[in-house]
């Protein structure tokens, strides 16, 4: 141990804070170094003089009563701010912790329930925008519900008749008639087949134009439809439900929820004829 390092340990030595290892090293050095030993011997006296000088040089100096009063007032204001900012900080921490906990819980829920983002979710998110743009706002409901009048119209069948299935004006009916707003209904189609082979599937569109707006439902009817015969296809609110809710985010009852004239139109597509056995 050299003299400089020994001097650095004097304070801890006098305070009894040295470790056994440093104590042994320092004492060994002091035995062989009279200069350091003398310095250590004089250190308490030096410290007394320093302490006394520094303390007495400021003794009697104190804040004036006015300054003291100002100090207390400023400190009180400062403490109030400190308390409020501390509370705000704590609240912020609680909010952040809660939000983090919610996120973790949500993440865990998705992981544990194996929930995945359904493709229909996109439709659900995007569809209302189109819906809002497409339709006028519904009028205020009247206290006396009036009857809805359904006027039926069939598409010009001449162009559609070239297929295997045909539809005439009387082949489309709605029950009950008249239909009250929101009431369950049944749309019945009588499909005529003019081919000698059974028809496997028929595809058609049902268009509804009325006070609630314009809707076009793309529908499929699974056969087999008998050869050269008449088949009955019934469309109920349940059948429309999937299509209407998925595409338009509206229930079938709501499609006919306002009183007025509704035009129904059916467009037949070329049917799929069953292959000959």
């Amino acid at each position: 141990m050299n003299c400089e390092l020994a001097c650095h340990l004097f304070d801890e030595y006098l305070e009894g804070q040295l470790s056994q290892y440093d104590l042994r090293r320092l004492e060994r050095h002091l035995h062989g170094c009279p200069s350091c030993a003398a310095e250590l011997r004089d250190l308490p006296r030096f410290e007394r003089v320093m302490r006394r000088s520094l303390v007495t040089s400021t003794q009697g100096r104190m804040l004036s009563p006015e300054a003291s009063m100002r100090l207390v007032q400023n400190a009180q204001t400062s403490l109030r701010r400190g308390i409020w900012s501390n509370r705000a900080l704590l609240s912020l921490r609680v909010v952040v912790a809660t939000a983090a906990l919610c996120l973790v819980a949500l993440g865990l829920y998705f992981i544990l329930s194996d929930a995945s983002v359904s493709p229909t979710l996109h439709t659900t998110v995007l569809a209302p925008v189109k819906q809002l743009v497409m339709f006028d706002p519904p009028p205020a409901p009247s206290s006396e519900p009036t009857q809805a009048v359904l006027t039926l119209q069939i598409a010009d069948s001449s162009s559609e008749r070239r297929g295997a299935l045909s539809l005439a004006s009387g082949d489309l009916s709605v029950e009950p008639t008249p239909l009250l707003p929101g009431e369950p209904f049944t749309i019945t189609l009588f499909l005529h087949s003019n081919v000698t082979q059974p028809v496997d599937r028929a595809r058609f569109d049902l268009e509804v134009t009325g006070p609630t707006g314009y809707y076009r439902f793309e529908m499929k009817a699974k056969g087999p439809f008998p050869a050269e015969g008449v088949s009955v296809v019934q469309i109920t609110p349940e059948r429309l439900a999937d299509l209407s809710q998925e595409k338009y985010l509206i229930s079938p009852e709501e499609v006919f929820s306002l009183p007025g004239v509704y035009v129904l139109r059916v467009l037949l597509y070329s049917p799929v004829v069953a292959s000959t056995q």
């Binding site: 003299c3 400089e4 020994a6 001097c7 650095h8 340990l9 304070d11 801890e12 305070e15 170094c33 200069s35 350091c36 003398a38 310095e39 011997r41 004089d42 250190l43 006296r45 030096f46 410290e47 003089v49 320093m50 302490r51 006394r52 000088s53 520094l54 303390v55 007495t56 040089s57 400021t58 003794q59 009697g60 100096r61 104190m62 804040l63 300054a67 003291s68 100002r70 100090l71 207390v72 400023n74 400190a75 009180q76 400062s78 403490l79 109030r80 701010r81 400190g82 308390i83 900012s85 501390n86």
Partner: protein, 203 residues
Amino acid sequence: MLVTQDQARTETEALIRRARRGDQLALGALIRRYQNYVFRLCYLVMRNEQDAEDMTQETFVRACRALPRFEIREEASFEAWLYRIAVNCCRSRMRRKWYQVLPWPDPAPQLVVEPEEQPERRLLRAERRDTVMEAVDTLGEKHRLVVILRYYAGLSNEEIAHVLKIPSGTVRSRLHTARQRLKELLAEGDEEERLFAAGGVAR
């Protein structure tokens, strides 16, 4: 009434707890307990009363704002915490370009002396005090701060390291350098001072 260090510490902690709950009386008592210690420390560092008063105000404003977050622990000393804030305030003020360190002003107007002290001895003490303060005055800021915190504030080397945010080895080194320099300066004084500095410089 004599108050032990532990009692004083317990009282301080009780005052801090009450002040943090918004007790204005406790805050007033806490400030009165420490305002002059802090003021004198600032005076030693800044060397003039006006700056010392400003720095005392600044210290307590900062301390009170941070008081709700001060952690009362066995090893954490409120005094050391206050001194740390005070030293930081003083150092930021001294770092400003326009700030000039002034020489030591006249001694305090109300110097308290021991009644039984002989006039000659009192004079000798006053002279020695002035000599010591002039010697401290010649030290650079780094060494002066260590000396003030050690011999005025009575902090340990570890506490000084905490206050100045430097390693304790650096504190020991600065303190050692400052002592050597002070002893050299004081040894240049009269015969009493020569006797006082007889320990010499360690080689």
